[in-house]
Amino acid sequence: MKKRSTSIDSLKNLFRIREFGVLVALILLCVFLSFASPYFLKPMNIFNVLRQISIIGILAVGQCLVIIIGCLDLSAGTTMGLMGVLCAIFIGFGIPPIVAFVLVIASGALIGTVNGLLVTRFGVNAFIVTLGMQYIARSVALLITGGIPVKMDSPLAFLGGGYIGAVPMSVIIMGAIVLLGWLFSTKTLLGRNIFIVGSNEKAAKLSGIRAGNVKMMVFIIMGSLAGLSGIILTGMLKTAEPSAGLGYELEAIAAVIIGGTSLSGGEGSIFGAIIGAALMGVLKNGFVLLGVSGYWQMFALGVVIIMAVLVDSMNTMKSSC
């Protein structure tokens, strides 16, 4: 009896993975759009969509880890903005691109470290820490630029605006980050510990896991990824806007949750997060392709966000008898 059921079980499992519902929603949306607009399936458009989601996608990878440990990082967006500005300024100082790259990532990691320290060593709620940091990062970006966008002309801009063949560089980077993130979260010890700490911090501590350090690392990773996406953002337009980034954190959080990661921690998937980001990206692309009027765009976005998750939750509800 046991043997017979395994193949059915694995099929059932496939249908039960939380990403599945959203993947279906994404595919349905794509099918619809490919009929509704002749441009949707053009390779150029597909690369455009991918490029448009690349920044949110990279942030979502970090945010996914943060959510798995049971926190939220509201500072990711403005940290990205600040890092973009720093990048342009470093280049402006004549610092070589590679060094500037490393410095920016390190600065991002530093902000992550501060967040992490406040959360783990001082026990401040992560929501509040990162909300405060959201303001601080934004204000620093504005203070050091005086609010004026900074031009950046450097080979470094290739990361954001360059193409390899027809493929935007930023898409390649996103792909790499997603792959790394997936490997990290499923194959490495630290990755595993992230899930464990998110699932039950007390028990994790009793299992000899320094939960504080694990959380710390997650914030540092998030900060570094914000640094990376800051570089890409600045490279895309060859300009660093000091007020850029606000709102990206919420979009990344939405992507993660749409992708099936639970806000209560301990569960989640990097691929899900990317599917969530893609869903929102395709939707926005669709609006422009179809010329949907402005106010209705917002309406549709709201409805689709809810629907994507609704399908999934109804599935889960049904499966339990």
């Binding site: 059921s5 079980d9 059932k12 039960r16 194959k187 490495t188 010890l189 630290l190 595993r192 510990n193 899930f195 464990i196 699932s199 039950n200 007390k202 028990a203 994790a204 501590k205 009793l206 299992s207 000899g208 896991i209 320094r210 639970s262 301990g266 569960e267 499966s319 339990s320 008898c321």
Partner: protein, 498 residues
């Protein structure tokens, strides 16, 4: 025998991957104490959850007071006159004890507002009535120890004064005197015509209190019998479905611990304990017992680095060690199976595999060797006979006893030299218990030193080379194997000897 108050016909319940109940027909009479026994995962709690409206059966009917009922939630069942003590404590930790006792039916004053004072008074009355001591009704539940929480859970169900009370392992974390107390309460209830379903893995309790006994195995009702002249051994055999070799007894094994002292603690003191001194020898099984709240858990948590110490030293193999957190403790070769498996032991939404392997993985470098992990886990699952459809099953869907086995397995993968077990057989069935005893004994024989905390007198008497009895945060006496007797432990624990 009185009227039938509850009856089920052909109940079937399936969960993804498991059939928890297969065609169960069962009945309960007025004024009887009906014990359910069965191995972990046999389906006892599932049936109770169906009776109390938590789950709906896939097929089957329930009759209560001779009329068919379909409960859409537990409120409906409660309103019909059925209440339940849940195996997994169903308490709201961030509100007060009194509010928990009156959960779902808070007391109101004349203005219709919730009346905390009144609730606390009535809660105290209930505690007095059922002889529950040392719990302040206005305290928040999260500040209580596991066993006090268990008492609150019991008080909650008893105070509803229902016609039918289901008790799903009510005594799992209680000590002897509290168990006696509960059994007395049950006798009084029975007099009043209340029907009680009593689930326990402590078969001596079952023997003592039950009128009839029903045995479950693998989701099936095997047999219902009148409790007359049935020995615990027979019960156990029915549960596991085969001849159990003579009930496990360590005395038969004859091994002595070695004289080498591996752990020595002196003058331990923090806010819950004071002046704790003892030594642990290589290969010894040292029992630590006492009443609820006597500080047993606090002692081992202090050693394990969970709580900080105000004073005192810990010496391991003649070296004074400083243990700041659990990681230090583990690196010193100490392993801990904590009490409260849900709060401190399990990663509920992670897989069985991860729950077992996590401790071991910490010391194996950055990458996870999945092959090795899988084989290690498979071996332990087999050795401990953990019932799970597959290794990737989320551990929250396992039965309580199987969860507990997984937690013990976790510690062993790491090969500790000193193993601390805090209520290791909490909620574990007799078969598994025997297996756990066997493992403990083997470990001791191979030179692992063990500290065993247990509220179960039988366990302490049978397993331990020496027994420390705690009272009020300090060690009140040490009994060697020769001296150990139930009465002596009780006297020391209640501080009636000098």
């Amino acid at each position: 025998m009185g009227k039938k108050v509850l009856e089920t016909k052909s109940i079937i319940k399936r969960f993804p991957g498991v059939t928890a109940l297969e065609d169960v027909s069962f009945c309960l009479y007025e004024g009887e104490v009906h014990a359910l026994i069965g191995e972990n995962g046999a389906g006892k709690s599932t049936l109770m959850n169906i009776l109390s409206g938590v789950f709906t059966p896939c097929t089957g009917n329930i009759f209560m007071f001779e009329e068919e009922v379909v409960f859409k939630d537990s409120k409906a069942a409660y309103e019909k006159g059925l209440s339940m003590i849940h195996q997994e404590l169903a308490l709201a930790c961030s509100v007060s004890v009194a509010e928990n006792v009156f959960l779902g039916r808070l007391k109101k004053n004349r203005l219709g507002l919730v009346d905390n004072k009144k609730m606390e008074r009535e809660c105290q009355k209930i505690f007095d009535k059922y002889n529950i001591k040392h719990i302040n009704p206005s305290e928040k539940v999260k500040h209580l120890s596991t066993s006090k929480m268990q008492l609150v859970e019991i008080a909650k169900a008893l105070s509803r004064e229902s016609k039918i009370i289901i008790m799903d392992e009510p005594t799992a974390s209680l000590t002897k005197s509290e168990v006696e107390n509960l059994l007395d309460v049950i006798r009084v209830l029975k007099e009043k015509g209340v029907a009680i379903i009593y689930i326990s893995h402590r078969l001596d309790e079952v023997e003592e209190i039950a009128d009839r006994i029903t045995v479950f195995r693998d989701g099936q009702l095997i047999k219902t019998m009148v409790n007359e002249g049935i020995s615990t051994k027979e019960m156990a055999q029915l549960m596991v479905g085969r001849e159990l070799d003579d009930s496990y007894n360590r005395c038969h094994q004859h091994h002595e611990y070695q004289q080498e002292i591996v752990l020595k603690v002196s003058g331990l003191k923090n806010k819950n304990i004071h002046d704790v001194n003892f030594e642990l020898h290589k290969g010894e099984i040292l029992g630590l017992t006492g009443l609820v709240g006597s500080g047993r858990t606090e002692v081992v948590e202090a050693i394990f680095g969970k709580d900080s110490l105000d004073e005192g030293t810990i010496t391991i193999k003649n070296q004074v060690v400083r243990i700041r957190d659990s990681r230090d403790a583990i690196e010193c070769g100490i392993g801990l199976v904590p009490e409260g498996r849900k709060t401190q032991g399990l990663f509920l939404n992670r897989s069985v595999k991860e729950n077992i392997s996590i401790l071991n993985l910490q010391y194996n470098g950055g990458m996870i060797n999945q092959k090795k992990e899988n084989s290690n886990v498979a071996e332990l699952i087999k050795k401990f006979n953990v019932k799970t459809p597959n290794h990737e099953q989320k551990i929250q869907y396992l039965s309580g006893g199987n969860q507990q086995k997984a937690v013990i397995a976790r510690c062993l993968l790491n090969k500790p030299e000193i193993l601390i077990l805090d209520e290791p057989t909490h909620g574990v069935d007799i078969g598994a218990k025997m297996e756990i005893y066997q493992i403990i004994d083997e470990l001791a024989a191979s030179g692992v030193s063990i500290i065993l905390i247990s509220s179960e007198m039988q366990e302490i008497l049978m397993m331990c080379d020496r027994v420390l009895v705690m009272h009020n945060g300090t060690i009140n006496g040490t009994l060697s194997k020769e001296d150990v007797e139930q009465e002596k432990i009780v006297l020391l624990a209640t501080d009636q000897v000098r």
